[in-house]
Every structure is written in structure tokens, then in C-alpha cells.
């Protein structure tokens, strides 16, 4: 390969031909360097050099073959990637935009049933632990109908319910401490104004009182069924404070709630 061949092959044949056609009087190609021979037409060197003629022909065939290939499109995310590389500070905004643009996926058909089944199983286990029994042998817990009704009543008239709540929590005020002595004083002042009781009647009343006291034990025994000979000690609770909590609850139950219905 001569210098002319090297110079000939330094440019693609079609470029050499296009340059010659556009500027037939142009200066030598600077890429070739000073002293280099001027570009000669492809046809001229190839006409005298068979090897370069073959090279030029194959070059043109390859170029024609490449030119006939279908043009491939640019990948869709190429632009985004390029932009992300060039503008890194806007990544979050782009990510948000991308997420917002996602389409909502439909739920699997059996998902709801599976979740409900799992929830019921969980609740049932909790009930079983609370009640100490097998849930399969007992119905699920339900709120009493009375509770549902009370809640419904309260929700239907919230202002009234709220007023009742606050009024009901007010502390009942006691009577002033000076009231009792003053009442007692007034009562003692009235006493002397009463009519005097005849002496005979007073003695009669006293005798009747003594008789009543003497008969009182037998009357009480009659009223309570008399003393009973048993092998244990009996303690009577005459006041609510004397009752132990269990007995009080029992009495409240058998009486239909007479102790718990607002009574002390």
C-alpha cells in the first residue's frame, strides 16, 4: 500500500466525492497535513489501483447496507435518565410525580374474605380467653340490648345528655353547721308553751310506758320468730354499713335492686 493508497483510504469514498463536488478548488485537507497530496477523485486513484478500487467498492456496499437498516427508537427512560443526571436536585419531585401517576391495582377477589376470616378468628380467640371457654361452644359476645338503647338515647339528644351528666355530678351541699343548734333552740323555746298534762294522766302514761318496756322483749321475739338454739353465733346486720359486700349484693339482687337504685 502506497502513500496514495493511505491517503485515499483516509476518507470515506462518498465523503471525498461530496467534498470534491462541493469545492473543486478547495485547499488540501488539513487533517492530512501539510505536504499531503491534494484529494484526488475516488475514481482517479481507484482507476489505477485495483486494491483501492476494491476497498472503495466494498466500503460503498457496507455503507449502503448500513443505510438500509431500520432506525431504532430511543429508550423511553433515556430522556429522564439524562435529565436526572443533569438535574439531581429535582429527583424527589419527579419521584412524587411518578408515584402519583401510578394506576390503582385491583384487589384480589379472595382478599376481603381472607381478612375477615382472620379477624373473626382473632376476636374469637380473645373471647375464649376472656370467658375461659371454647368459642365454638358459645355464641359471640353481644352488648346487652339495654346498653344499646341507652347509648342510642344519649346519642339522639347529646345536649340533654351532656346537661344531665354535669348536673348529676354536682356535689350535694350539706346544711350549715349553725342550722342544727338554731333549730334545737327554736324547739326548746316552743316547749314551755305546751299545755301542762294533768298529774294523773302523767302517772298513767308512765305506767303504760313501763308496761310496754317490760313486754318489749317478748314482742320482739314474736316478731323475729324467737331465739333459736343453734350451734353457731348469729350476727345481725341492722344497717347497710354492717353488711359485707357480698350480702349487700345478694339482698340487692333478691329485692330487685332496691338498695342500688340511688339509695345510700
Amino acid at each position: 500500500m502506497t502513500i496514495s493508497c493511505q491517503s485515499f483510504r483516509a476518507e470515506p469514498p462518498e465523503r471525498r466525492d461530496a467534498a470534491r463536488d462541493a469545492a473543486p478548488d478547495a485547499a488540501p485537507d488539513p487533517a492530512i497535513g501539510p505536504g499531503a497530496p491534494a484529494l484526488e477523485p475516488t475514481s482517479e486513484h481507484a482507476r489505477v489501483c485495483d486494491e483501492c478500487a476494491t476497498w472503495a467498492r466494498r466500503w460503498k456496499e457496507r455503507a449502503a447496507s448500513l443505510a438500509s437498516l431500520q432506525r431504532q427508537s430511543v429508550p423511553a427512560d433515556l430522556e429522564g435518565r439524562v435529565a436526572a443526571t443533569l438535574q439531581a436536585g429535582h429527583r424527589q419531585a419527579r419521584a412524587v410525580t411518578a408515584v402519583q401517576g401510578l394506576a390503582r391495582l385491583p384487589l384480589p377477589l379472595d382478599l376481603e374474605g381472607a381478612v375477615r376470616s382472620a379477624a373473626e378468628q382473632s376476636v374469637g380467640d380473645a373471647e375464649g380467653r376472656l370467658l375461659g371457654r371454647d368459642r365454638r361452644a358459645a355464641p359471640p359476645l353481644r352488648a346487652p340490648s339495654v346498653l344499646e338503647r341507652l347509648v342510642r338515647e344519649e346519642l339522639s339528644d347529646l345536649p340533654r345528655a351532656r346537661a344531665r351528666r354535669f348536673l348529676g355530678s354536682l356535689v350535694r351541699l350539706g346544711a350549715p353547721s349553725a342550722l342544727e343548734p338554731r333549730v334545737a333552740h327554736d324547739l326548746t323555746r316552743v316547749a314551755p308553751a305546751r299545755a301542762r298534762v294533768p298529774r294523773g294522766l302523767a302517772w298513767g302514761a308512765l305506767a303504760a310506758g313501763l308496761l310496754a318496756v317490760a313486754l318489749l322483749p317478748s314482742v320482739l321475739r314474736e316478731g323475729t320468730g324467737g331465739e333459736v338454739d343453734v350451734h353457731f353465733r348469729v350476727v345481725r346486720a341492722d344497717t347497710l354499713e354492717d353488711l359485707d359486700p357480698v350480702s349487700r349484693a345478694l339482698i340487692d339482687a333478691v329485692s330487685g335492686g332496691i338498695l342500688s337504685a340511688g339509695n345510700p
Binding site: 346487652p144 320468730g225 333459736v228 353457731f232 353488711l243 359485707d244 333478691v254 329485692s255 332496691i258
Partner: protein, 343 residues
């Protein structure tokens, strides 16, 4: 504790009904006379309609009905006057299922919170209230044997229903009497007035509304939360102690049933014996030695307390927990307890 008294749904009424039919068949006609030395009964034309009593026996469990009724309790107690008035709805499916829904507390006037707590407590007690508090014939034979039942021939109307008025009083040792309006068709007591022999009102109940064969699809029937089983020979060894049963009972009382009740709080059984004179009930419960002494009560001591006609005796004897309650006189209840542990 009220729930501890919650009953099982046993169709005992059916057996008792057969007993009453047998008793009725022994008589010459559908009514019979009751003789008594009691002055009250002597003044009255004593005619008892036994078929109506038969209806009363089975009505609460075998008639499907619903109603609204008003309860009134006015007791003069050692620690003060107490009064209670409230309204409740009652349902029965005619097959042993029932429900009581308290509606309103009319007296005393209380805060909204106290009212709601009361209503909820009443709901929790519905088993006890329906089975044991309500006026009902528990045993026809005992009822006829122990009570003077007078039908003065007065027809009354309660909640739009035609009723027969009955006057009922214990033959011996009576301290109270009942005036009852019984629905002629079903035998359900639609009005009950319990009063002292001096005519002082103690309790009253009256239906304000009443309907038969209602739709109960939206009604939540009572679901007993207490485990109660018959106390037979096979169950006795599982109690963990030898159950003590009284040998002496209050006058006129017989045993209705023996069961064991599980105490979920203390994880143990109680032996429970239920007695009746046909109308009133007495309960005797033996809890064994479990837990040692009864809380708040010393050993070999019985604490006796009463509210109105009810008496509650509770304590520990020989380390055994014991509880008795009923409307029988206190001395008779004490003798009953004594007979269970001391011979």
C-alpha cells in the same frame, strides 16, 4: 352474685303440670272448697278454680307473649324507708326462652349515671328476676297444700285482658298476702299486689301492655352465663367436698332441685339446693372449704340480714362456706343451716 342464681332452662314445669292434672282428677269437679280457720278466709266465699292454677303453673314457660309492666317496691326497713318504681319489658318465646329489658327507673330520682347502672344491673339479673322473683307457682301440690286460694268471683281487666282476681295467703304463719289478677286465657299473672296483713303495700306489679304470639325475632333472649348442672350421684364427687344438705326445712317447704353451680371467680363448685312451699323459694348453698373462711365473716358465725321479706344468712361453719336466702322466717332458716352441719 345475682348471676350465681341464674337458672338453667329445665322443663320442670311440664312434670309439675302432670302432677297438677293428677291432683285435679282426684276431685269431683273442677273446683273445690278450702276450709280454714283463718278469719279472712272464713269471711270469703272460698272457691278455687283449679284449672286456672294449672295454667298458672306452666304459663311463664309455655306461653309466647310480650308485655310492659310496672314494678313498685315500698319497704320500711330497719335502716330507713326504701321505695323503688320502675318499668320493664318482658318477653317469653313459649319454649323456655325469656328476656327482661328494663325500660325506665321512675323512683327514686337519681342521676343519669345511677339510672343507667341500675338498668344495666337489672338486665344482668333477668335470669333471677324471671325465674325466682316473679310471682309464679313452682309446685302445684305444695301451693295448694300451703296456701289458701280464694276466688271472690271478681272479674277485672288488666292491660285489656279479662282476668280472675285471686286472694292468696299462707295457711299457717302468714305475714303477707297476695292479690293476683290472672289472665283467664293463659294463666299469666298480670297484676300482683303483695301486702302485709294490715294492708300495707310491700310490692306490686302490673302489666300496662300485653300481647300474645309476638314477633320476637329482634329480641335477645336470656343466655345464662353461669354453669349450673344437676347435682346427682355422678356429679357429687367432682365437687371437691361432700355436700351438706339440711335435714330440717322451713315449714311447708320441699326440695325442688339440687344442682351444682360453678363459681368462676374462685374456680370451684357450690352445691345448691332449692326449696319451695309452692310459691316462695328458699336457697341453700354449700361451698365447701375452698378459700378458707368466708370473706368478712369469722368462723362459726352466720351474718343475718334482711330487706323486706327477704332474708340472707351467710357465713362459715366448721370451715365450710354456707349461704341461705329466702322469705321464710329467720329462725326456720337458722335451724335449716344448723341441721346441715350439726347433728
Amino acid at each position: 352474685m345475682s348471676s350465681a342464681m341464674a337458672p338453667r332452662r329445665t322443663p320442670r314445669a311440664l312434670a309439675a303440670g302432670l302432677l297438677l292434672i293428677a291432683l285435679a282428677c282426684d276431685r269431683a269437679d273442677s273446683s273445690f272448697s278450702v276450709s280454714s280457720s283463718n278469719d279472712t278466709s272464713e269471711r270469703l266465699a272460698v272457691q278455687v278454680a283449679s284449672p286456672l292454677v294449672a295454667k298458672m303453673l306452666s304459663a311463664p314457660d309455655h306461653v309466647r307473649f310480650r308485655g310492659t309492666r310496672r314494678h313498685e317496691v315500698r319497704w320500711n326497713l330497719p335502716f330507713g324507708q326504701r321505695q323503688l318504681v320502675y318499668r320493664e319489658n318482658v318477653f317469653s318465646d313459649g319454649a323456655g326462652g325469656f328476656a327482661i329489658d328494663p325500660v325506665a327507673l321512675l323512683e327514686p330520682t337519681v342521676s343519669w349515671l345511677e339510672r343507667d347502672v341500675f338498668l344495666l344491673m337489672q338486665k344482668a339479673r333477668e335470669g333471677f328476676l324471671y325465674r325466682y322473683r316473679d310471682f309464679r307457682v313452682h309446685d302445684a301440690g305444695l301451693f295448694l297444700a300451703n296456701y289458701v286460694i280464694v276466688d271472690p268471683g271478681t272479674a277485672v281487666s288488666v292491660a285489656g285482658r279479662n282476668c280472675a282476681e285471686l286472694w292468696i295467703e299462707r295457711r299457717d304463719g302468714a305475714s303477707r298476702r297476695f292479690r293476683v289478677a290472672v289472665d283467664l286465657e293463659t294463666g299469666i299473672a298480670l297484676s300482683v299486689r303483695e301486702e302485709s296483713l294490715q294492708g300495707i303495700l310491700l310490692t306490686s306489679m302490673e302489666y300496662e301492655r300485653f300481647s300474645l304470639a309476638p314477633d320476637l325475632s329482634q329480641v335477645e333472649l336470656h343466655d345464662p352465663q353461669v354453669q349450673e348442672e344437676p347435682l346427682d350421684e355422678s356429679a357429687s364427687p367432682t365437687l371437691g367436698f361432700a355436700p351438706a344438705e339440711p335435714r330440717l326445712l322451713p315449714s311447708g317447704y320441699r326440695r325442688l332441685e339440687a344442682t351444682r353451680v360453678y363459681d368462676a371467680e374462685e374456680r370451684g363448685w357450690w352445691a345448691k339446693y332449692t326449696y319451695s312451699d309452692g310459691l316462695e323459694l328458699v336457697f341453700f348453698l354449700h361451698g365447701g372449704e375452698r378459700g378458707g373462711e368466708t370473706a368478712g365473716v369469722d368462723a362459726d358465725v352466720i351474718q343475718a340480714s334482711s330487706v323486706g321479706p327477704w332474708r340472707v344468712l351467710r357465713g362459715s361453719l366448721r370451715g365450710q362456706r354456707v349461704l341461705a336466702m329466702g322469705k321464710a322466717p329467720e329462725p326456720e332458716l337458722l335451724r335449716m343451716i344448723d341441721s346441715a352441719f350439726f347433728r
